[in-house]
């Protein structure tokens, strides 16, 4: 259905941009929902999008008990946002992705390092991971404390999945071209065993993004054993994903290449496409669970999980050689100040577009001509080795994860009105970050030197990436550069109590976390010899969160609610280690983030009209962040430690669905948000070759917009269902108020110093807004019934077609201001903003055979 459009975007871009992970995650969920929707066409439950069902006779006497609103798993607003707003990376309420929690069989999946959920590590298994419950916001929640954005609880216990045997194939022109999956889910047999497995494969190459590649087989196995009131479950899942990464490009380059799908990351090598930026990952996840219900209705759910795996991202590295990336700014026509040369360069690229791709043959040729002798190899005085020293290599930026997680939950009904939920979670995560040599590209060896330090210091120690093993010669597979391990631990406990009366539902909850983070350096960096090697001191934090709310149930159709939450959150490791690759230096002013939120709303569930209105506000105080980039003023890699990030998120979400006729319904979703930074931020600069704060100051960001999401989004659509069950829908979506993430340097006092008197300051300081976008999408679904099988189940062949961006527009889906800035000349055009461009009209067709 329409959601597949967003799957594309999530795959094309979501992998690449942490900001879009939230969207990606939602898309996943809703993709699943769409399948469910379509698969249940025969059941003709067209109203299942509406949250609360079966209330035809819900208007009862005032005294009678009114059922509470069901959770928003199929909330119309959330669905619409995921399917239709994803092209601009819409984030609900403008919240950061780490506020959207995900768990599988009660095990929290959000990484302790950056807070994001690694959706791609179980991608392709939608047929089982669709079995999820999503709780939007800090609502009453009997599965856990929840998240400010949302909490998605995926349940992959074999006996909890819908029994089926199905084969599905997808054909698409999006980031992958086909997908096949085989799912078998067998319910409990007489001996109390249930099992499930799902195998899938997604494959694509050289799709909409030129030089792209996608190959991701995935597997899932689960078995359940019921023993009286005990249920034991074992699940194993993982995806071996290999995919190309996409680069954002400047508008000049977009124009020069003349294609939305231009991608500078690849080039031809011996007549085949070779992409320099590939990501491969595999994080198998094993979960052992136990469910136990006592005779007095106390339910205890316990899970233990283990996961270990590796992610590798390849990239080119080079030493004493020109930048091999074809989109390097010095290679652009705009870099030429002489108009004749600018024209020549422009003409050359037009005539030979292959020059805008990587020239692999040249890299080999350069390496083969690079004969060199290395002295005092491995720090052994007098040991010299000669050979072909690669000037270009392909490196792996690797992350090796190990995780042990434990979770236990108690649910108890106390009397008829109270219910109690308590959780305890423990997570231990070890992540080793390092680089290793992937390909020497025709050379014999590479050397473990820091080429950026060489110019900085005449002392040769600074040149060494590892003083413990100086002048180390590297072969394929050897670790080099940075190498450190983060040990992250989190222990959390939460408790919730809810109370239901005839007219009111009340709830309250508390969560307390203890966090312990530690860095262990595996090499002694030549520049930071004293604080790079060995364990750092550990950082301990205590988080706390509270929530409470009430719903007034006017009758079975009209509900009013008010929910509040307050949180004190420790910074994540990635937000306060200044440069963990080189040393254990932390943010100069560690602070806890303080979050307060209130939301209130109205829900109408009438037979012909479903309406929801949710108004919310959230206030964030004392957030922090670290940015690392090449600074043109310092002529070095610098780390900006940003502090005092204070945000206000204010808005309204409206969704409505109106049944116009028996066959036609209309739906509407609107997000009106205003998300701003309410104060000036602070920054502290440390240069990556010197260990002290070289500069501190204020970033003038007061009233700046929160970036990377449309703050306003509108969707309107119609769905038609024929008597035969053919379903077709069409929607128009308008996305407004999207700002690019901004560069703090341009909003500092220092940046003002170099602006010429006649230049408008706002041309430097104002954040950049993308033009609003109007996108049309459609989808259709039909299910052929193939009668009963011998075993008595109904067989069906289901078809789903979705088409996105019907107007075939070139839409900028996102982007960022480059952090590199020509401060001396106050020139924003030297390193202009980079953008991601959308695919034009696109489609996806799913054919599914189910019995």
């Amino acid at each position: 259905m329409r959601m597949f459009l967003f799957i594309i975007f999530c795959i094309a871009f979501g992998f690449l941009n942490a900001q879009s992970i939230a969207v990606y995650k939602k898309i996943k969920n809703h993709f699943i929902d769409s399948i469910e929707l379509a698969s249940s066409l025969n059941e003709a439950s067209i109203n299942q999008f509406v949250a609360s069902g079966d209330l035809d006779d819900g208007v009862k006497s005032a005294e009678s008990f009114v059922p509470s609103v069901l959770n928003a798993n199929r909330d119309l607003f959330t669905n619409t946002a995921a399917f239709h707003f994803g092209i601009r990376r819409f984030r609900a309420k403008g919240f950061d992705a780490k506020l959207f929690k995900v768990s599988i069989n009660d095990i929290p999946m959000n990484q302790l390092s950056d807070g994001y959920a690694p959706w791609s590590s179980w991608g392709g298994l939608n047929e089982v991971t669709n079995n999820a419950t999503a709780i939007i916001g800090l609502k009453e929640n009997d599965l856990g404390f929840g998240g400010l954005g949302s909490a998605t609880y995926i349940d992959v216990k074999a006996s909890h999945l819908r029994a089926q045997t199905s084969v599905a194939t997808t054909f698409s022109n999006r980031s992958y071209q086909y997908k096949v999956s085989f799912t078998k889910i067998a319910p409990f047999n007489k001996k109390g065993w249930a099992y499930a497995f799902c195998l899938s494969e997604r494959y694509g190459s050289n799709g909409f993004i030129s030089g792209s590649y996608f190959n991701a087989p995935a597997y899932f196995f689960a078995v359940d054993k019921k023993l009286k009131e005990h249920l034991f479950s074992l699940s194993l899942m993982g995806a071996l994903s290999t995919s190309s990464r996409t680069a954002a490009i400047t508008s000049n380059l977009h124009h020069l290449a003349g294609s939305n799908g231009y991608n500078p990351n690849w080039g031809m090598q011996n007549n085949s496409i070779r992409n320099a930026n590939m990501q491969s990952l595999h994080y198998p996840l094993l979960i052992l669970s136990h469910e136990f219900t006592t005779p007095d209705e106390i339910k205890i759910t316990t899970s233990l999980a283990y996961s270990m795996g590796e992610k590798k991202v390849t990239a080119l590295d080079w030493y004493k050689a020109p930048d091999p990336r074809p989109d390097y700014y010095r290679y652009m026509p705009s870099f030429q100040s002489d108009s004749a040369l600018q024209l020549s360069v422009n003409q050359l690229y037009k005539a030979q577009p292959e020059l805008l791709q990587i020239n692999w043959n040249r890299l080999y040729e350069v390496n083969r001509n690079s004969y060199e002798t290395i002295h005092d190899v491995d720090g052994i005085s007098g040991r010299s080795v000669s050979g072909i020293r690669s000037r270009y290599i392909l490196e792996d930026r690797a992350e090796q994860h190990k995780k042990i997680m434990f979770s236990s939950r108690v649910n108890q009904l106390i009397g008829t009105n109270f219910s109690f939920t308590a959780n305890i979670n423990f997570g231990w995560q070890s992540i080793r970050y390092f680089k290793s040599v992937n390909d020497l590209l025709g050379g014999d060896f590479y050397v473990d030197w820091n080429q950026f330090a060489e110019d900085k210091s005449v002392e040769s120690a600074a040149l060494q990436n590892d003083l413990n093993r100086p002048n180390r010669m590297l072969a394929v597979g050897d670790a080099f550069g940075y190498d450190y391990t983060m040990i992250l631990q989190k222990l959390s406990g939460s408790a919730q109590l809810s109370y239901k009366t005839n007219r009111f539902d009340f709830f309250g909850g508390i969560e307390i976390d203890h966090i312990n983070n530690l860095r262990i350096g595996n090499v002694r960096n030549g520049v930071f010899s004293l604080n790079s090697y060995g364990p750092s001191t550990s950082d301990k934090f205590n988080n706390m969160a509270l929530k409470a709310g009430a719903t007034y149930k006017f009758n079975g159709r009209n509900y009013f609610y008010l929910n509040t939450g307050w949180m004190l959150q420790a910074p994540l490791m990635n937000d306060y280690y200044i440069s963990p690759r080189t040393r254990d230096t932390r943010h100069p002013k560690l602070s806890m983030e303080n979050i307060a939120s209130v939301e209130a709303g109205y829900i109408l569930n009438a037979p012909l009209i479903k309406f929801r209105l949710n108004a919310y506000t959230a206030l964030f105080k004392n957030g922090m962040n670290v940015m690392s980039f090449y600074h043109d003023g310092y002529k070095s890699l610098v780390n900006y430690a940003i502090g005092n990030i204070n945000q206000l998120h204010l808005g309204t979400e409206i969704s409505a669905e109106v049944q116009l006729t028996n066959r036609l319904r209309s739906n509407l979703a609107i997000a009106l948000g205003k998300y701003v930074y309410t104060d000036r931020q602070t920054y502290a600069v440390s240069i990556d070759n010197e260990d002290y704060i070289s500069e501190q100051g204020i970033v003038y960001t007061k009233n700046f917009p929160i970036t990377g999401t449309p703050q306003k989004a509108y969707s309107a659509g119609f769905t038609y269902q024929s008597p035969s069950g053919f379903l077709c829908s069409f929607s128009g979506n308008y996305l407004a108020d999207y700002w690019l993430s901004f560069n703090p340097i341009r909003r500092t006092y220092d940046a003002m110093a170099t602006i010429p008197a006649n230049k408008d300051i706002t041309s430097i300081t104002s954040p950049e807004k993308l033009p609003d976008a109007l996108v049309l999408d459609m989808s259709a679904a039909y299910s052929f019934s193939l009668g009963k099988s011998k075993s008595g189940t109904y067989r069906s062949l289901q078809l789903f077609l979705s088409a996105g961006n019907l107007l075939n527009q070139s839409i900028i889906t996102g982007g960022y201001e480059q952090l590199r800035y020509d401060i001396a000349n106050a020139n924003t055009e030297k390193f202009p903003s980079k953008y991601y461009y959308s695919q034009g009209a696109n489609y996806s067709l799913i054919i599914r055979y189910r019995l």
Binding site: P217, L240, R274, K320, P322, S344, L348, R362, E365, G442
Partner: protein
């Protein structure tokens, strides 16, 4: 499901996973080693240079191709955004707007240059090839380097060949047609004021011209960039040959080296001595039997009050120290030479003689300092230990022979330097911890080139 359906289904899935597996084991084929191009040059560099009208700049509009072998590039950063190629007739400097040029244009690489669209121009009379001309100042048209993206169009790589032998020339044979050529000049040395000086100003990244003098008359500049990787290395003092790219600036003749291996100035100078004695002391003038005292020297006790004394044996005078009979728990004493200026020479070497007596573990060590103020508290200054051979092991007598320290290089130090002998011992009552070794020092010499 029928068995047939099942079979088809399972084979289909198997097939897909096979494809997935196949996709995983993708190994890239390596390109074959480049063996050059069959393109032919149709113009010699000499003929190209003759197209140039001095003081002018010419755009080349014909499909001419020159070829040459790279004789200089930016490998040591002494050439900036420049390579030099040479054929059998002449050589030319090519201005290129990029860094790391040595990667694509290593020494000895044959290069073909498509001239159509490029410009001939000059800088200070030096002929160059570039990408465009900036006429902002009409009186001095400035040649702009060739942009990196145009390299693919302008340069065709040939095979790697032998770097041409430098042209051995006498000073009076140097002429403008030799511009950019790899030349060797012999019987040459740096003028005294330019010896033992850094090749260039590495602090300010400034270019420095040192003057080379030819024994039988004539002089030219040795020009070195402050960005050169060897800029901080000190110039040699000897006489010999120098190889490099011949360059001119106006009427001034210059030579630019690719690396320090281009300089072979090891022979005796034709102007002045080949080796210079910076300091010598044999102590034959001192008064024997008292604490040692000599103009410019410092004889100081940090702890324990023991000073170096003047002594004589077998008609040879020397200085000596011991903690013996001092009854001190710690004896630290300093003997410091007068300051030595290391700025006017290169490859300075220190040597001296020592003898030990009744050795039980006290130490004598040699240090150098460039920040000692010459005052009474040398222990407050920063000293670097010099590795030297010091006499030891004469447990029950006085060593029978003097031990030579060996040649101790002072090359890594510059400016006004102090050399100190530091004695550390004690006279504890406990015989096992007592360190009272006596040391004698003589024949201190510092030489420089």
């Amino acid at each position: 499901m029928s068995l047939f359906c099942k079979k088809i289904l399972y084979s289909y899935c198997l097939f897909c996973f096979f494809i997935a597996l196949w996709g995983c084991i993708k190994k890239f084929d390596q390109p074959e080693t480049y063996t050059g191009s069959n393109i032919q040059a149709n113009l010699s560099i000499r003929a190209l240079s003759e197209l140039h009208i001095p003081g002018n700049a010419e755009k080349l509009t014909d499909d001419w191709i020159i070829t040459g072998i790279v004789t200089a590039n930016d490998a040591t950063d002494n050439f900036y955004k420049t390579i030099v190629i040479q054929d059998s007739t002449a050589a030319i400097t090519i201005r290129m707007d990029g860094f790391g040029l040595s990667a694509d244009f290593p020494m000895g690489k044959r290069i073909f240059v498509r001239l159509n669209g490029l410009w001939l121009g000059e800088y200070g009379g030096m002929l160059q090839l570039g990408g465009a001309v900036d006429r902002t100042d009409p009186a001095y048209p400035e040649l702009l380097p060739i942009p990196t993206p145009l390299f693919a169009k302008c340069f065709i790589h040939g095979s790697k060949e032998k770097i041409p032998d430098p042209l051995l020339v006498h000073f009076d044979e140097l002429k403008n047609t030799m511009q950019s050529r790899l030349i060797t000049i012999d019987s040459v040395e740096l003028v005294p004021g330019d010896t033992a000086k850094p090749f260039a100003d590495v602090v300010n990244k400034a270019t420095v011209n040192h003057t080379l003098r030819i024994c039988n008359g004539g002089s030219l500049y040795l020009r070195t960039s402050g960005f050169a990787s060897f800029a901080a290395v000190k110039t040699p003092r000897g006489n010999g040959t120098i190889t490099g790219i011949y360059s001119t600036f106006g009427s001034q003749k210059q030579i630019i080296i690719r690396d320090t291996s281009d300089i072979k100035l090891n022979g005796g100078r034709c102007f002045g001595n080949s080796s210079k004695q910076l300091y010598y002391q044999d102590f034959e003038s001192i008064a024997v039997g008292a604490n040692f005292m000599l103009t410019g020297w410092k004889n100081l006790a940090e702890t324990g009050g023991q000073l170096f004394s003047s002594q004589m044996a077998a008609a040879n005078r020397y200085v000596s120290i011991s903690a013996f009979a001092s009854k001190q728990s710690l004896v630290t004493s300093w003997l410091i030479l007068p300051p030595i200026n290391l700025n006017s020479t290169a490859s300075e070497q220190l040597s001296f003689l020592t003898k030990d007596a009744f050795d039980n573990g006290a130490t004598l060590q040699v240090y150098i300092s460039t920040n000692y103020d010459g005052g009474l508290f040398p222990w407050k200054a920063k000293w670097s230990l010099l590795k030297s051979l010091i006499s030891k092991g004469a447990v029950s007598n006085i060593a029978s022979k003097w031990t030579a320290s060996g040649s101790i290089s002072l090359n890594s130090f510059s400016g006004l330097a102090y050399i100190a002998f530091k004695y550390e011992g004690n006279d504890l009552p406990d015989i096992t911890n007592k360190k009272t070794t006596a040391f004698q020092i003589d024949e201190i010499k510092v030489m420089g080139n």
